[in-house]
Symmetry: C2
Subunit: 290 residues, 2 copies
């Protein structure tokens, strides 16, 4: 139960603070496969029971910081992973417990604006309190998106131009600490992501699209993003949404995106004819705009 | 019929190239009230018959550049106003006539990406061809949004903070030549505008909103925007959409926004309790972000 982070034969139980989607289960499975015990705290309203069911777990309100901390300590968790989707809580509907209120005071109300402010502050506070916060991709190494083409389909010249435009737009958004995604078709930005989430953004593109070659989804990590808590994630549902909306492919930041179930994601892309391309946004310059 | 732009007692007929909405009719009415004849070319699929009906007018496809030019020349129009909403045409569905194809070649296909590229190029080409392109606000002076508060309701401290955040986001988008608007609630960017248009963006905010004080719409002109062809426009429908979505007010760029029917717009805002605030975005710095 010490905060000793040196190598031990028996690693302490990995605590997983879980939001929505299947990623918490994947991280837990990978940790177990590596011989490590896990304990999951599912955030009420976000974490999904079937995902958590195979593992020791419990549920807690996101504002119940004192309860969460006690659960982690009781179960011997000093190493933590924060994983899964969590819609940003309103400052007003968090209903914090006593420790939650103290935490909010430490974070500062201002951090409830942009994503990075809040998550970065939470990670820093957990570390100040002696927890070690690991990235999901440290446990689940194959989840980190690689560079290059993953699919049979490949982007043509128009799609490559759309990707370049999308990188410029997504980067501008990231600097303003908003979304991480946009859809570009034939040079035109059809949609830009804010709190509706990537799938929500994609689903409204179909009626906005023009005739001719379909658009592309571009998803980047934000500059300075807290990579231990909030990397953009794509998976089969992203591919399905993109296909339904008539998009031709997805470009994502290599090393800065998680792919939930890569085999299933790539298989669905191949089946629907979409390309998946890992890019280094640093190689794109805004000079490519007319 | 000369291109002489010197002052004459009888001004030549004002040519109005009209997109959707009521603004073309307002410009035509103002020009007539000033003693000037008008001739409207309504763009098929955008211009609305009831708006054009009181004035000499005809309809033409947006790609029928040769036909439009001939109509303007036949009716003695050397001064032009481009006004009303036009959804960006696809490069592929313009069906240009011979002159349209030449025009597209002069503009360059690249300009079909961002808004400014295209509209700026069209204005420059019209001027090269001897037309004088006037801004709608040159004819309809009261349409240009003033600075300051227009309504009984005023923004509180939270709304002012949301406006400051929205200015930073809208400006980042404008630099990337995307939309001109966003909605911010309690520091969180709920939605960002791309091609769906302002009303479309607003209408998807209701389910994204959090409990507590409602959000604000921020609408700016883009840096370097061609102010003779494409200023952002707000009107009663914007106020209605904002009210329906639970927003508390609208901040817009003073001197960089057109207000369609200011009396009706302000009256509806007062009736629904929204504020309308004309701002100078230059006085906002990104330093206000945490």
């Amino acid at each position: 139960m010490s905060a000793d982070t040196g190598r031990q034969t028996m690693q302490p139980t990995l605590g997983i603070i879980a939001g929505g989607g299947g990623m918490p289960g994947r991280v837990a499975t990978a940790a177990r496969a590596a011989g490590r015990a896990v304990f999951i705290v599912g955030l009420e309203g976000f974490a999904e029971r079937p995902v958590l069911a195979p593992f020791p777990h419990t549920f807690a309100r996101i504002g119940a910081v004192g309860a969460i901390r006690q659960l982690l300590d009781t179960n011997g968790c000093r190493d933590l992973v924060l994983i899964g989707s969590v819609r940003r809580p309103s400052f007003l509907d968090m209903r914090p417990d006593a420790e939650g209120a103290k935490l909010i005071a430490r974070i500062g109300r201002a951090a409830f604006a942009g994503d990075d402010g809040l998550l970065g502050a939470i990670v820093r506070i957990l570390e100040q309190d002696g927890y070690k916060v690991l990235a999901a991709q440290d446990i689940l190494r194959e989840a980190l998106a690689p560079s290059g083409l993953l699919t049979t389909a490949a982007p043509d010249a128009q799609a490559m131009a759309d990707i370049a435009r999308g990188v410029v737009v997504a980067r501008a958004l990231g600097v303003a600490d908003v979304g991480q995604g946009c859809v570009v078709q034939q040079g035109l930005v059809l949609a830009v992501e804010a709190v509706e989430g990537t799938d929500g953004m994609i689903s409204r593109c179909a009626p906005l699209a023009r005739p001719g070659p379909g658009g592309v989804l571009v998803k980047l990590a934000k500059p300075g993003q807290e990579r231990r808590a909030d990397l953009p994630t794509i998976g089969p549902s992203t591919v399905q949404a993109a296909h339904t909306a008539g998009l031709r492919g997805i470009a994502f930041e290599a090393g800065g995106t998680l792919i939930a179930d890569r085999d299933a994601t790539v298989a669905l892309a191949d089946k629907t004819g979409l390309f998946l391309l890992g890019i280094d946004p640093g190689t794109y310059t805004s000079g490519e705009r007319p």
